[in-house]
Symmetry: C2
Subunit: 352 residues, 2 copies
């Protein structure tokens, strides 16, 4: 602690991102990156943007990107917000829609950045416990609140809630904003974007880091009714006007234009996930039904931390959370088939 820090700074417990190893070459299955490279058209579009125009500020509103996204999803431009990764947008959203007077609701087991945002903006929150099987007790969110945020599918559990169930929640909470963080929606779920015209309290957040293989480019987006988007713009323009650089804008535009590549790679990830699930179950693992690009699993005989450490020793990095209720689980990102073959081979040896 430093005497120069504000009270806020002293009170913070920052988020700890997954390890980005520099020491040696791992099979990296720990931060839910896509195993496939970005579309060649994305790389080409970025290369074309590497020119002397970099001396000029980017469009602070990202209008061209918004237009492409709006067309892609069949919504209007003023229903789209773009930002420097979905983490930044989530942070803006906490500031834009939540007040300290009422508790924000989210599950006890979910993306661990949510309580960090809440603390940063000095917001109260209530963590709603997931069921034993990690399913979401939607009825328990039916209490007075200052807003709700849910990851669907949820992380790190990989579980998905149907749109019908979520719609009920959104409809029952019309006075407060419901944020759906759909970072993993493209791996088998159905997006709630189709509901934004129906519910003015619904904000849907997407990222290009997972299903579009662009974790290194830092682009996310939010979609919702015009008032919500305008609120996000107010907050953004009180924080940093130019959040997206010219290259990120160019790459993101190209990513939405190459739907074919997107479809091909996300299907491949889902196929690899399904067969990995089967193979892990054959090894006795308890594998949750995943609708994401990762698997959440435990084994009855070897505890999660031991599996995590053994895999790391063998050059395979997965994620382990030393946290009540999930401290016997490991989260494994879906890699290429070859990487998953290596994972299975090593898991076999570890659990013997």
């Amino acid at each position: 602690m430093s005497k120069y820090w504000s009270k806020l700074t002293k009170s913070l417990t920052p988020y700890v991102p997954g390890e980005q190893p520099k020491d040696k070459k791992y099979i990296k299955l720990n931060t839910n990156e896509n195993p496939y490279p970005p579309s060649p058209k994305v790389l080409e579009a970025i290369r074309n943007a590497v020119n002397e125009d970099l001396k000029l500020y980017p469009d602070p509103n990202g209008d061209e990107l918004k237009k492409v996204i709006a067309d892609y999803h069949g919504i209007s431009v003023n229903q789209v917000f773009v930002g420097n990764g979905s983490d930044e947008i989530l942070s803006f959203a906490f500031a834009t829609f939540f007040d300290s007077s009422e508790k924000v609701l989210f599950p006890d087991i979910t993306y661990s950045f949510y309580p960090v945002y809440a603390n940063f903006y000095n917001l109260w929150y209530k963590e709603i416990p997931l069921e034993e099987d990690f399913s979401l007790p939607l009825d328990k969110f039916n209490i007075p609140n200052g807003g709700i945020i849910l990851a669907n599918p949820n992380a790190p559990t990989s579980k998905y809630v149907s749109l019908d169930d979520l719609e009920l929640l959104i409809k029952n909470n019309l006075e407060k904003v419901v944020i759906l963080d759909e970072a993993y929606i493209d791996f088998g779920g159905e997006s709630a974007i189709k509901l934004i015209n129906k519910y003015p309290n619904l904000l849907v957040i997407h990222t290009l880091s997972k299903s579009r293989s662009l974790a290194g480019l830092r682009v996310g987006l939010a979609m919702g009714n015009q008032e919500l988007i305008e609120g996000l713009n107010r907050v953004k323009n009180s924080f940093n006007s130019y959040t997206l650089d010219r290259l990120a804008l160019a790459g993101a535009i190209a990513a939405y234009k190459d739907k074919e590549y997107f479809e091909k790679t996300r299907k491949k990830v889902m196929e690899t996930r399904e067969r990995t699930k089967k193979e892990m179950r054959a090894l006795g693992f308890n594998v949750l039904d995943s609708m994401t690009n990762f698997i959440f699993a435990s084994h009855p005989k070897v505890n999660g931390e031991k599996i995590f450490l053994s895999l790391k020793e063998r050059g395979i990095l997965v994620r382990y959370f030393n946290k009540p209720k999930i401290d016997n689980y490991i989260r494994i990102s879906i890699g290429t088939d070859k990487e998953m073959d290596s994972l299975i081979k090593n898991l076999k040896e570890i659990i013997i």
Copy 2:
């Protein structure tokens, strides 16, 4: 106003960035961009980074960039913070070092984002009036405060305060943080970086948007003692872990490595500024002594807004602030010699 907005959102008056025209081709002298392209080595380094690694998250700490900057300035790595443009770093700094219990001090005429940040974090502030000639009344900052932020050289006035004068201010305010926003320091001023080992309360903020021709890449940095940098990291990691994408990191590293190009272009900008100043003075303009890449000027016969509008009509975009004390001035970014020739020619016609 929307019922879904937080009290904070409702209270905000967002920053309005300078116009980024899309309708037609202007001589663009309105947002203090560098008229020269980024170093060819920067473009090459970025091109080399446009590869499949974009599927992976960037280094959240930007360690390699920090190392290059530390070596460049002869400081240590833990005295460097990097971010998504200096605007983002300024925002983090307001959160990290300032409390709502005491007033933050800054001049009444300065970068207009400062009061916006203060409002965003619900901080009190006091604007210290500049002197009639826009010089900084340093003695007036010698009052109880919760921190001080100064742009040196100041914007939009272009005026510079000597390091000796500033050192006195920093020394007299050892209990609170003094932030020096040196966005324009490379155009003739002397940086306070040399003082960071002496004063634990000093934070110096730089940007690559001006003197390194990279406004489109969004990279800024802060330098100060380790405790201050650690505080910034706490705040950053409570807001967004991955603020800099892989391409921005690669380009910024290359920019600091090509010192020769940097020296050449910044000298060229200063030369063009000096001769533009002379020519404008010959036309009767009151031109402040600039240590920046822009000129702040008024004319005794034609008012600032009229000059701004006339120039715009003629295809030259400069910046006009409709604000007390400076509403008769225009701010003109230094362009190429050819662009400034065109400016002078048009100014001549306007003031006749």
